[in-house]
């Protein structure tokens, strides 16, 4: 059994250490490849397709995506064990979307938990409910994106409706040990007081959610689109200023949630 779990394969495109804004403490983020959404502002466009692809970075072509075993990932995750223990940190699965590779994700999460390493996931929430049903017992913190309440606008900017996400949110809120809602603040998409209030009110209505993090839009990653031979459709959009973010923050706080800017 033990050996089986370690040899389960999955596809990742990066492992990033000393991550301190994605879940509690010092964390190592495992970025899985493949995502059901196509958010226009996505800062990791190379994460979206499950297939391996070539990206040009600083004039150099590199293959994005490699197949690894749970054992190999754990070897890398283990390197920062002392820092997790000292900070209450651990491993975070991000992406892409961890639910796209449920067997691999589930094995990683189980293995980490067995070793006493805290687990977190960053998710868009778009998947079959059964996947969450199976994986939630192995997750300490869920960081769930709620990007928009309106289904049509959600589809327009991410490629998918928000209905499934909202249903899953309700389910996660009931079952998860800890759920934090995060909202990327994207001008032209969801940066009005009304839209943010709707999201915050929805999050509050879930009952178990205490925190909502507003993540201001940034352009880091926009160069990757060219590197992948794709067009970046958000290039004329300004980064939200501090004043604007604080305004939105007070809207979040007014719903009874504890808001914060940044992860």
């Amino acid at each position: 059994m033990e050996e089986n779990i370690l040899s389960v394969q999955g596809r990742i495109f990066n492992i990033q250490r000393y991550s301190i804004h994605d879940g509690p403490g010092i964390r190592t983020i495992v970025f899985l490849k493949g995502c059901p959404l196509r958010c226009r502002w996505c800062c990791n466009p190379e994460s979206q397709k499950y297939e391996k692809e070539t990206m040009v970075t600083a004039g150099k072509a590199e293959t994005v995506g490699r197949d690894v075993t749970v054992g190999e990932v754990m070897e890398e995750v283990e390197k920062d064990r002392v820092y997790y223990l000292r900070s209450g940190g651990g491993m975070t699965l991000s992406g892409g979307e961890f639910t796209v590779q449920p067997e691999f994700s589930g094995s990683l999460l189980r293995e980490a938990r067995n070793r006493g390493i805290n687990t977190a996931v960053e998710t868009c929430g778009f998947t079959r409910k059964e996947v969450f049903e199976e994986l939630l017992p192995h997750i300490d913190t869920v960081l769930l994106d709620i990007k928009h309440i309106d289904g049509e606008k959600h589809r327009q900017f991410t490629g998918q409706d928000s209905t499934v996400i909202k249903e899953n949110a309700l389910f996660i809120a009931k079952k998860a040990k800890k759920l934090i809602v995060r909202t990327p603040v994207i001008p032209t998409f969801n940066d009005t007081l009304k839209e943010i209030r709707e999201i915050a009110e929805f999050a509050y209505s879930l009952g178990t959610v205490k925190e909502l993090h507003l993540l201001p839009y940034h352009r880091i990653g926009s160069d990757k689109y060219a590197g992948l031979g794709r067009e970046y459709t958000m290039k004329n959009i300004a980064v939200p200023d501090k004043l604007k973010m604080e305004e939105l923050l007070s809207v979040v706080n007014s719903t009874g949630l504890k808001g914060q800017i940044g992860g």
Partner: protein, 841 residues
Amino acid sequence: MKFRTEKIAKSDRIPKLVKALFEKMPEIEPDRAVLLTESYKSTEGEPIITRRAKAFAHILENIPITIRENELIVGSATKAPRSCQVFPEYSYEWLEAEFDTVASRSADPFYISEETKSILSEVYKYWKGKTTRELADSYMSHDARTAFEHSVFTPGNYYYNGVGHVTVDYPKVLAVGYAGIIAEAQARLDDIKQGDPDYGEKYHFLTAVITSCKAACDYAKRYSALAAEMAGRESDPERSRELREIARICSRVPESGACSFYEACQSFWFVQMLLQTESSGHSISPGRFDQYMYPYLKKDLDDGKITYEKAQELIDCIWVKLNDLNKCRDAESAEGFAGYSLFQNLIAGGQDKYGRDATNDLSFMCITATEHVFLPQPSFSVRVWNGSPHEFLLRAAELTATGIGLPAYYNDEVIIPALQNRGLTLEDARDYNIIGCVEPQKAAKTDGWHDAAFFNMLRPLEMVFSEGYDKGQLIGKRTAPVTKMSTFEEFLGAYREQMNYFIELLVNADNAIDRAHAERCPLPFQSSMVDDCIARGKSVQQGGAVYNFTGPQGFGIANIADGLYAIKKLVFEEKKYTLDYFRKALEDNFGKPTDEKMSEKLTAKVVKALAENGTEITEELVKAVYREIRTNKCSESEKAGYEKLLSDIESLDKYGNDSEEVDTFAREMAYTYTKPLEKYKNPRGGTFQAGLYPVSANVPLGEHTGATPDGRLAFTPIADGVSPAAGRDKKGPTAAANSVSALDHFIASNGTLFNMKFHPSALRGRSGLESFVALIRGYFDRKGSHMQFNVVSRETLRDAQKHPENYRSLVVRVAGYSALFTTLSKGLQEDIINRTEQQSF
């Protein structure tokens, strides 16, 4: 609440005192040199220890004294703030040679008046043939001097200056005053037997102790009289009252034991500044200030005699005074110790001698003082162990987040056993403090000679390729030509052989200098406050301390590890290149032009030589020389080959990325320096112990080092401390920390130095600070010894280079100390900017 953690407000006095410090450029003052020489002339033929004591007394009796505006703690070594005295008994030729350039040089310039120049020129006539430097020269072997001249190592610090690097028995002076120490020396004097073989030596030493301690008491009384006189003239009644209080205190301490916190502060300060008048040695480190000062604070607080605010103001005043002292070094040393630093290391927190946590309210107030004064001195440090209070480390992290580069963090869990391994008792090891940059020792019992030399670990590697030759001269071991080496072990064997050879020469040089200090500059005042000098009847310099060490520093670990790893992989495993090709590539600097800054320096040298030969110097000629130096003569195909080699080196794993194979290699390579050194003895009856850090010498000594197999180009900076080479650690702070912790920090018991640079965003907010503290704790769990941080963005530093006038108070961490960024030389500024900046994700 166990501790009073809330911040105490800053008194209005502090910004005024700080401002006054920086109103003028530091200046060289001649008074001490003149008085010293007068005294020496009148004591010819007497025992050296007596002459030293009489000279000290003569200086203190006559040197101009001053109480600066708004001061509560008094005692200044110079008339003008941040100025310096001169110490011709150690060496003087360099200053005489630099009379016309010392005010305009790039690192640590000092103003010197024409009058001072002529006074010093007169004084210097007396000193020819009488300095420690000259005596050291005659004790040094020919081979050692050659290696020194060829920059394999430099013991320049103690060669040109006093040794310093000591923490004396402050608590003893606070408790019993110099009157108590005089009584102790007198009792010992009454005790020694006239039939003892060393009666004379002991007699003169103990008498010298008494003379020196009396001189210190009398010096304080001069301040008492001056304060009383100023109080009489003072129109502001508040200031007049302050001056009368100063007069009262200086009439009591340091002669008697301190009866209040204020008296303890003033007594402490006299000890601190007088040690730096007796000798030019730096790193006179206050040590565990929060421990020995606390009983006085607590008593006054309990008795309602002082408020936290008043106590904080006094501590802040001491912090300002620590920045008032200064030292002028020769131009080359100034680059190695850049930033006008005196490395007065003061440490808070940690365990007591029984192994219990010793953090107290004063530990927190030390952090506040550094925030209030916001200057590089003291070199503020904190001790960390598994039982350190979290709130203390969080508060320290807040100070780090300001970007001042302070405090440095030290790991009790490594340092205590490391010191025990060197023969300290468990209680003494637990009570350690830090000297200067990163060197641990037990206060009041140790003469550690902690900064004995810098040893450039890359130069012996160059010698492997050149068969021991440098600039046409055989200076190392004549090892086999690399063309004859068929295994990596042979290559490594040759490196070890070169290392062992130069380490022995380093020991020779250090011991020569050590003897010279014992013979020509024993220090009776310092020795009065270090055990067991009085009992043994001999000075620190003659081996009077309980623990004696010599600690020279090796540096370049990262380059050596990466370079030898490259050779192992590319030559012996992948067989892509031959050793001879590597040799040629290094000789050709990988086909790259000579570093721009270095080319300018070399051009100046050549032009000077031409001028001396009578060649007429024209602008054309200078340009032609420069062009010649800057042009790499390799053919295009050679250059293309070297490009390929560089790119192959680049793609190998590097130290700093948590790669087990390279890190293990780094550990082994560090042993090539740390292990052979352990077996050597010094003349004071102690042993050698290695440190791994360069202070800031990695930049100037890099200028004497050709290209290295890790891809480092000729004359560029060498990696600092045990940190990864600049820009080569790419996996974030935990990966870098893991690599560094792979070294054996226990054996490098003279200290290791790990620099990390953070972008301010990484320490933002509570969670940023918490993660930062966890990073330190994690590194220490993995048995790292020391960590220090620069938290300032690259953009800020670039802007400070462009507009220094806007950044006069920007403090950055250089090596084992902080300094004002704008006072550093361009090369060092670049080195700091180029350190890998750790971002948070």
